[in-house]
Amino acid sequence: MREFQGIITAKHPVMGDSWLMTFTAPTEVLHAARAGQFVNVLPRERAVYDPLLRRPFSVYGVAPDEGLMTILVRPYGRGGGWIVDRNIGSEIDVMGLLGNRFDIAPRSTHLLMVGGGVGAAPLLMLAREAVARKLSVTYLLGAANAGALLEASEIPGEVEYVVATEDGSAGYHGFVTDLVPDYLQWADQVFACGPGPMFESLRSVVLANRMGKRPSVQVSVERTMACGVGACLGCMVETKRGMKTSCVDGPVFDMDMVQW
């Protein structure tokens, strides 16, 4: 875990309004990066104090040999907007790696990933890790329309990529969570990341359709953060084992442990 200045080497537009931002990063950070972890990016110049706080972004991909890290940034507001406006060659102030990781159980062979919007980012990293371990992966991604989906070329070829759109312009017409029941028998584990409402419907679909506690579901939750290292206690998640920080104990939690 450290602060570092990266240099932006590439920008690639994706999902309609978002950007894949690639920048240089220290080798030890790149080698240590695992799916689910995130970095905190300063969304401003160092000596200008607005917006004040760093913004968390999941690691989307790493290329240790080239010394590069990629994050997927959706410009929701000022911070995200400032970051995607940086040009190639400019500096980016990054703190990381932060947080825990998705945990693939040793005996799991069939993995279901459920993503909504920019929740695609950590799951893509996970899908790459799983494919490298020769595991079967189905990746369900939901978005408002076809233009807001991740291009299939971003997804490893071995992954079964299934999409849902709210307007029916691509794939299944409806919410991505509607597709989940079909895969619950098949999957050993489910991994999810997306907006709050997606978690709510995922949870009710899983509770209504699975047998006992199988498959287990790991979710990456989103909280406003200040420090990212467990010092401020601003990013808590209420769990059955008490209050946990989403920046150190999370962002990945077992769905059954979270007090929804």
């Binding site: 602060e3 300063l42 004040l52 703190m95 420090c227 467990g230 010092a231 206690l233």
Partner: protein, 327 residues
């Protein structure tokens, strides 16, 4: 990233925050991370050389375990943030078991921030901390509601601030820093009362009570409704209050509120602070803490000062006069 670097400056940065206390509180430099912004000193250890700091203040400790406020607890505001953490902490007994045994082996002095809702509870905590190894001093957070006084904030009333300080003073020989609340009507009156009651030093400012509303949800962005404002947005208020307090007390003043770099810290020293704390700025740039030590030393060197004393109170003609020359 812990590197042992050669000191980059000549100036003497040492400061004693409890000059009239036999147990003294001598810091190697005047840079201290503020309570609630540095956890228990361990959280930032992978990122900065914590042992280089002048001291650090841990998260506020209370008589009993507290799980804190509901979420959301923090929100960003223009050049600042609001927080309502609700003093989540393991309680005084759990705290004493958990952290001081580690700090005992540290070079950096650890200051414990305490909060309570009655005078007896403040005294009880001070008593328990008195002979715990690994603790260098106590910072008394008086920005808390006094339950016996209908929830009125201790730190807004000179009598109540005095009573708490006296009780803590009696309960411990440790250096006692009383942390003042910027919500007080007359901060100078409170500071004088606390000095008279035996405080070794005062620190200020704590956060200012604020609120922000999300028009979309038509609700406060903080579950607790109000939160404490901190960060660069509060700095001018903090400098003014440090100036006022340093004009009326002789004990050391520890200044804080929005410090993000050496230029900000210099303002506080020149207003009359002998040391500074850094809170919110640690979140975005942890490395700033150790950089601040070096930059301060180098600034003094290049401005012809052999020690920090050369600038403390430089902008404040009433500094250290106990208000003899009027503010």
């Amino acid at each position: 990233m812990v590197t042992v670097e050669k000191q980059q400056y000549m100036a003497d940065l040492t400061v004693d925050l409890a000059p009239s206390n036999p147990r003294e509180l001598v810091l190697r430099n005047p840079v201290i991370p503020a309570s609630g912004c540095f956890g228990y000193g361990l959280e930032y250890s992978p990122m900065i050389d914590v042992q280089r700091l002048g001291a650090f203040v841990c998260k506020g400790i209370t008589p009993k375990v507290r799980s804190g406020n509901p979420m959301p607890r923090i929100t960003e505001t223009p050049s600042g943030m609001l927080n309502a953490i609700g003093l989540q902490n393991p309680g005084i007994d759990g705290f004493i078991r958990k952290y001081p045994p580690t700090w005992e082996h540290w070079r950096v002095p650890a200051i414990v921030n305490i909060s309570a809702e009655s005078v007896e509870d403040y005294a009880m905590m001070a008593r328990k901390l008195d002979d715990v190894a690994g603790i260098a001093g106590i910072e008394v957070n008086i920005s808390c509601p006094n339950i016996e006084a209908g929830g009125f904030c201790f730190g807004w009333d000179a009598r109540m601030s005095e009573t708490v300080t006296q009780a803590v003073r009696k309960a411990t020989t440790l250096p006692v820093i009383v942390k003042l609340s910027p919500g007080a009507l007359d901060i100078m009156e409170i500071a004088s009362a606390v000095e008279g009651a035996g405080a070794d030093a005062v620190s200020l400012i704590n956060t200012l009570v604020g609120m922000t509303i999300d028009p979309r949800t038509r609700r406060s962005k903080i579950a607790n409704l109000t939160g404490g404002l901190s960060g660069p947005a509060v700095k001018p208020v903090a400098v003014r209050m440090v100036y006022q307090v340093a004009s009326v007390v002789k004990i050391p003043v520890v200044g804080m509120g929005g410090i993000s770099g050496v230029q900000d810290a210099l303002e506080f020293f020149m207003a009359g602070a002998s040391a500074v704390q850094v809170g919110t700025a640690v979140f975005s740039t942890p490395s700033m803490l150790t950089r601040l030590i070096d930059e301060l030393g180098m600034w003094l060197d290049s401005n012809g000062c052999t020690s920090l004393n050369g600038i403390v109170g430089a902008a404040n003609p009433a500094f250290g006069t106990r208000g003899e020359s009027t503010f």
